[in-house]
Amino acid sequence: MRVVLAEDLYLLRDGLVRLLQAHGFEIVAAVESGPELLRALLDERPEVAVVDVRLPPTFTDEGLQAALTARRAIPGLPVLVLSQHVEQLYARELLADGTGGVGYLLKDRVFNSGQFVDAVRRVASGGTAMDPDVIAKLLASNARHEPLGKLTPREREVLELMAEGRSNAAIAQRLYLSESAVSKHTANIFAKLDLAVSDDDNRRVLAVLTYLNGTRG
């Protein structure tokens, strides 16, 4: 799988290259600044891009901007954004076009290489990978919202994992449930939140995230 990587710290960039190569990814470009990243994304058209938010030359949100620009040029270009901190604001911007194929994770998640690689693959296949911290913040700021209060604790757990972008199978494995139990919970959640059920995992996640984002003005 062809990957473009953008990270300005040499050690971290090198580590990510090794990690991804070890899992059978092909690194077509490993760049260290915003303009280079944008050029690489548009020229190489990778199957997935792994991008640090803060990049030279301005050390602001250079990487995020480059990723958003590239996604406007190539709709659905899969991008996994890494950052030292996660913000609902940035998650919203990434999700705004509603096409999926986005990920937004804390850099710490790289520690668990299995899960990280899983997230990269998920994003590459058009799914989403949202950091648990983002989801927690999203749910916390929705705390006063009525329908969410009606969920049982178990349903809430399922909702959290689903919002992170995991498939039913992955959720079942995580919570030690059978897949059918998970799909029953999902059906309940969708009924309580008054959302249309969809068989497609990716579309389902987007519906949930849009719902959570949309409940606040």
Binding site: H85, Q88, L89, K107, S141, A143
Partner: protein, 499 residues
């Protein structure tokens, strides 16, 4: 008109009455001063000064209320009460006192006698009856004299009397203002006093800023020392142990390495929180507007944010504004029991203005809330002010204004367009050319019929065109110089009002 005149006469009369009370105070003060400095009965002095200051304060208030002449109090701030030493005695210079009575009197005495405002007050007390009193009475006197003159019933006197009476009536509504200006002459702070006050204020602000900065650094140092640093030491030690075990007991080594990973994740979380407290990443990456939007998203309240800023404010101001908004939002949810909050960020010239409105139950009081005190302290370093309007029952509106929030050149650029700047430079640089050689010099040359034509353009032209060209040149020069002067003045004023 009639009403205004009547009010004018009334105020004049009141001012005259007050001026007469000055005579009483003057007599008392004279006696006290004689007793003080003649017989050493200095304990009478502070009470007298307080009495005179009270009267002066009243005069300032009247000037402000009746004539719009605002007069600030010129006095230096009162000295702090003496603090006892650890043994309970009070030290004043090289002497020790058992009670605070004498040292506190000494401080008051010094404070009053060394403040020039005290002596200016006495001078005013002396001058007010003859000058201020006469000023205030002048419309009445004019009308009175006018009437008296008319009653003489001679043509000239009648005319003079009518004129005098009318003048008195016309002057009456303005007399309060004239009196206010006179009051300002002696009761307003002198330039020196103003500067001294400014210096005192700046020193205080500086001290507070340095103190809070030092405290902040100490907090960061402590957090790093107890947190990340300690964790890194633990990580190093655990890794060492794992290295030892890796051959003999691989499973134990693996468990240790897993622990190391956990510890490093925990220290990352800690560092992230620390960084957020020092300078929030979104603020660094996106500026104030988006940082506040991010804050709004994370808040449990329903927060609407509207931002209207031409450029990013200076970094320190931006950071102060961000933390102030954080604190205000926290207050709204913690104390005000609010559900909806509106944050409005805008600018007025070079000042940054933030308004936070919530629908909580109100009743916030800056003198009680330590959070609000903290906000004021943070703002004071930037000469910022917090205005809080929080009636019981709500809503609470907090307005924060930070002057000089934008880079000076950004504001200047926005106040004066480029073409105007260029024109200004041309005018300043070349106005002399049409004005002096081509205008005035050519004119003199023509008037005195000199043969020297030098390089004066007009003198080379045919006779009928010479005068129009000369006058045109002078007019052009004058226009250029007056445009340059006016624009520069305007620019300075604008900058002055920004700074």
């Amino acid at each position: 008109m009639v009403l205004k005149t009547m009010v004018g006469f009334g105020r004049g009369l009141a001012l005259v009455t007050l001026a007469v009370t000055n005579l009483v105070m003057l007599a008392v003060s004279a006696v006290v001063l004689v007793l003080c400095f003649g017989l050493g009965m200095i304990f009478l002095f502070p009470a007298t000064v307080r009495m005179v200051r009270g009267r002066a304060r009243q005069a300032r208030q009247i000037a402000g209320a009746w004539s719009g002449v605002e007069i600030d109090a010129p006095y230096s701030p009162a000295p702090p009460p003496p603090q006892p030493q650890r043994d309970g005695w009070y030290r004043e210079g090289r002497q020790l006192y058992r009670t605070s009575l004498v040292p506190s009197f000494n401080r008051t005495w010094n404070w009053m006698t060394k403040d020039p405002a005290t002596w200016r007050d006495f001078a005013w007390l002396l001058a007010e009856p003859p000058v201020g009193g006469l000023l205030a009475a002048s419309p009445l006197i004019m009308v009175g004299c006018g009437v008296a003159l008319v009653r003489v019933w001679q043509p000239v006197e009648v005319l003079a009397g009518v004129v005098l009476a009318i003048a008195g009536v016309l002057v009456a509504p303005r007399i309060a203002r004239v009196h206010g200006l006179w009051t300002r002459l002696l009761l307003a702070p002198t330039k020196k006093a103003r500067l001294a006050n400014e210096v005192r204020h700046l020193t205080q602000v500086h001290t507070e800023a340095v103190d809070s900065q030092a405290a902040e650094l100490r907090r960061i140092e402590r957090d790093l020392h107890d947190g990340a640093q300690a964790r890194l030491v633990a990580i190093g030690m655990t890794l060492g142990a794992a290295e030892e075990l890796v051959d003999s007991d691989p499973t134990a080594a693996k468990a240790l390495i897993a622990k190391v990973r956990e510890a490093s994740a925990a220290s990352l979380i800690e560092l992230r929180q620390l960084v957020r407290g020092i300078h929030p990443p979104v603020l660094a990456e996106r500026g104030l507007g988006d940082a506040v939007r991010a804050l709004a998203l994370d808040s449990p309240l329903k927060v609407t944010v509207s931002v209207e800023l031409p450029v990013r404010p200076e970094a320190p101001v931006e950071s102060a504004a961000y933390f102030v908004i954080t604190e205000l939002l926290a207050n709204a949810s913690r104390h005000g029991d609010a559900r909806n909050v509106a944050v409005d960020i805008s600018h007025r010239r070079s000042a940054l203005r933030v308004t936070v409105t919530d629908d909580g139950h109100g009743g916030a009081d800056p003198s009680r809330g330590s959070g609000l005190r903290g906000i004021e302290r943070r703002l004071s370093a930037f000469d910022g002010v917090l205005a809080l309007n929080s009636p019981p029952g709500g809503p609470t509106v907090a307005t924060v204004e930070l002057p000089r929030a934008f880079p000076a050149d950004a504001v200047r650029r926005s106040t004066l367009p480029v073409w105007k700047q260029r024109l200004l430079a041309v005018c300043w640089g070349l106005f002399w050319l049409p004005l002096f050689p081509q205008g005035l010099a050519a004119m003199f040359s023509k008037i005195f019929g000199s043969d020297v034509r030098s390089w004066f353009l007009a003198l080379y032209l045919p006779e009928p065109f010479q005068w129009p060209v000369i006058l045109g040149m002078i007019a052009l020069g004058v226009a250029m110089v007056s445009f340059a002067v006016m624009t520069t003045k305007q620019m300075k004023e604008r900058e002055g009002s920004c700074v």
